[in-house]
Symmetry: D3
Subunit: 239 residues, 6 copies
């Protein structure tokens, strides 16, 4: 299976770490490659960033389909341009939100999200409502670190754990979902600390969830419904 | 008051009719100008079109703010790029959905939408859920005419009336909202026919609703909340 | 346009201030007159007061229609007798709740209400549910001042600001609606203080919202649906 | 136990049949008396009728409390003035809706209502939403007979059965609630016909439900919460 | 009327106190007998206990029907095996949840539950959602005493009151439901203390609610719908 | 990976076909074994069957954990005894419902279920509500064939396709989930026919979904939350 990861930002600085993380979760037979955008923002932390990233993402989605890949992961928790992508290609496309949250719904009663900055809170609440899943949302917490400053691993684990542990203690969360695909390589450490606090609470890494979700979709032979995601009528488009 | 209408498509063919319609609904003292996009699709009939239109819309929104306008109407029922626009400017910005649907909610129990093509149905259902208003949605009906072929006025009235009357007869709608800002100048004719069928059922024209919504926002001195629409952090963006 | 404000209480003490406030929000060409009730309570602070006020309100609504007014504002946040009024006259009728809350829904994610006394809390929660809008309700807060003691302007601003600021800080509100039409002339001051606290949060004054809502309805030529508000069958009624 | 039935209409024509029906459902030791209103409408078939009836109902509620009754049944399915009544007296007060619908919720999945005229449909939908019970509502059907013409027993059974049977066949109802307290003495006949159609479907008579609900409340020693129904502040009231 | 109480646990230690409590709430003419299980757990404090108890409960339900009883109360708040029981017998069957919660819904806005141990919290939240009643749930609180250690009456009242009072003070509850049928004989004491705290808040005892619910069902002649609870097809079953 | 499939019925007649189907979906390295129950019903078509099957299922779950398996699939769409199983073992346990429905939620807007007999409809509606997913449920349809007569492959495909196609045509379903784990080997044929009807609509086989869900859970190292599924307190249990 051939998996294309689209890092929906400009610049190549993060490509290696994203590729390493995605490849680490992929099954032995899965080929993983990662591309970033020719146009878009340096990171996605707002509705504005998401809107600006969309055309560049869709360019990469179309390329991926032309390259014959078997699955596309747009590695951002806000699922940017994902519905549009499903309209224009037949290959399965996911962002960070759906695979992680649907996985979490199978693991416990209330889902708690820990994300990066308060700017994305309304967008995430909006996604839960749009997907019709808000009844199971327990809390969305913020560590308040800029996306581009997520590389201090220990501080990040400390901050996520503090928010997650408080949400669990207040019975607002039974499963934690890391609400930013830039929170790489910390899920297990947070989960271990939560378990030491008293009870096993699963922590879902959105990259891990997405990579394995697409591998599974490929094995099941399932892709997005064409009555929900109809092919766009042909017309002139200048993008 | 100075109102900027952004027609979120490329090409100038529709500018005159949109300007005429918007000006017809505007109050005497309101200056209305209309611009189309430098980049984007020829019409919006899918999530894909909406995603492609977003950066071009945001260009025009920023220009509008720089020009000192008092309100911006992105004339598309799907509210494309509206949350992003509210993050980057302080001037009130609306699309076609919110003013029309919030107006309708004050007029009757169940809202019925009549829109153009089935491609946008999931997007509209998604908007109702995202805005938390789905409990009042009665039905979304489709006339199945391409957006670019909406200029046969009589046929359009016939088709909209047929769908609206059926929804009213089945008690699925107490208020009709025209679900496409390209359905110009037909609301009153549809409403008159529905009333002849037996009962007054208001028909909300999204252009009329949006123009007057912005004029009212201007008089009230109210704009979008900065805790919902926080300013995006500064960063490199190539769009 | 001729606007009739019905102050749904007995006594004339408040007529001047209500008239001044409504007129201040009205457009230049709008004629505003205000009437109070011949029968009813001295203020509305309970379901009981609302029930007692209803027949007197409906008397005034019928008079207003006979006088040929273009819009009727029942100036109480609980929308007393508003559905009944829409059944018996064709002229648009609103209370304080619908125009203010529907306006707020277009301004931010979560609506926070600050009202006067705890007695009306269940009534307001019930209205949010009845209108199908509870998904967007963030919090209802109380300043705990009797309605008839709202005239100490500075103390009122302090109390409302304290509740609103706390709701904003806890992320329970992105827009504030003043939940009593007797809170006259304080919205802007509360909004300014909230902005000084850190972010612009709009504060909706229900009188301002209602007056301009009716002016807009008049311009749009829209009134309440007759499939929701059917004319009552003729019969004997002793009221 | 002493039960006061308030027939919330003017005129004495129906008093005997209502007393007979209520007494037939009451337990041996229960004393039942029935009063109608000094002021109000001849029947309740609209929000307008309900509003006009409220002060007259509240007069009778206060008298009932002064008379030391143990329960008050306002015999109208729309629960007119019931929240207000609970604010002003300590004795349990119910209308037709709550006892019947809460009983039905314990008998089957989806509740179907069969009521009299379409005028009350929005009011009933509004009650289901206000009470937070709409998730279990399957259908509201109408027999379209005026309330004052409900005395042709056989025709009434035919009409109710036709609507109920259709709702059951379409899987929109598992329990039927008669949505008008004027539908006296027909529940059992409708239930028998439904059972002959293929399956036992309970039919709840709102008078039976209310009388026995109050008797049970009396035995349990439970009355309405004073944090929901707070005593109205003292003030001048001219009603 | 003959009422059978099924104590859904093994052992006879509690039979006398349960019988005394049920008989105390029953009407003079009601015959009450109590049976425990031949197989099952010693108490129900988990989904696991509930699952293990089900076949033993269904044995007792079938016996009760064969004995010609008029109502069956499975005295556990989680309503274990109640839907299954309604499929196999025609006699009315209730657990502790439905009668108590439906009663509470008629007494105040928000229902607060005080239960025994945190293990049952997800089960109770799940029941509220399954019954479609979660919109009215205010809070579920825990006293954290094992079910088998509920016999220190004063300590139990203290603990329940502490949780209930806190929920009321935070406006999370207007009615309290005791969320364990083993909390015998304490409802009135808790209610009295809450009233001393400032306002009458009804406290619903699930045993009292269930016994009187069944007596009332018997008088109304109503049993569970056969379109919701269809008779199971005949087949081999080894239990 | 070692996967244990529990066929929650007595008898060995179906073991071979279930094993073949599960093994066909499993990854190359997955070891699959299948066991049926020592006690329980011959098939699950009611709440009663589900209740009777639970203790026998829990016996097999405990054995599976003792055998060191890595995942347990209780092959019934109603998820019988699954919450209880998660309380008593640490190994991941799923039924047919959660993996299939959560998968479907990622594929299209509205989920349509096609199941076997009407007896299970209330149970399935109850599961959607209990899991908080009912907002996305479009329709539950029934082919009305007994579970034990599902072996006529062509007739089964015809019947499922007829229901699915009708649900799609009425816009009640964008994804079809086969609502019985006994509908073996037909998903692809139904999906092909739906695509020939006009649009690709994915059809989710619950066995395929569950087997691959567990394999993915194993790779992700995620199991059920211990704050939702707490270990049952130790006590005497006779089952």
């Amino acid at each position: 299976m051939h998996l294309r990861v689209i890092l929906p930002v400009i610049g190549n600085a993060l490509l290696d770490s994203v590729r390493a993380e995605a490849a680490a979760w992929a099954a032995p037979g899965t080929e993983v490659d990662v591309v970033s955008l020719a146009r878009g923002p340096a990171s996605i932390e707002s509705e504005y960033d998401e809107a600006l990233a969309a055309p560049g993402i869709l360019d990469r989605v179309r390329e991926a389909a032309a390259d014959g890949v078997d699955g596309v992961f747009v590695t951002c928790f806000a699922d940017p341009a994902v519905p549009a992508a499903r309209e224009i290609v037949d290959v399965p496309v996911v962002g960070g939100f759906e695979p992680a949250v649907l996985t979490a719904l199978g693991l416990g009663e209330r889902v708690g999200i820990v994300t990066v900055r308060p700017n994305v809170l309304p967008m995430l609440h909006g996604l839960f409502r749009r997907y019709g899943l808000a009844e199971r949302l327990g809390a969305i917490r913020v560590v308040d670190i800029p996306v581009l400053g997520l590389d201090d691993h220990d501080a990040l684990v400390d901050r996520i754990h503090a928010q997650a542990a408080d949400a669990v203690a207040r019975r607002e969360a039974d499963v934690i979902v890391l609400g930013c695909t830039g929170m790489l390589g910390v899920a297990r450490a947070v989960q271990d600390r939560l378990e030491k606090d008293g009870a096993y609470v699963p922590v879902v890494d959105p990259t891990a969830a997405a990579v394995t979700w697409l591998e599974r979709a490929d094995r099941l032979g399932l892709r997005a419904s064409r009555t929900t995601y109809m092919p766009p009528p042909a017309k002139e488009r200048v993008a």
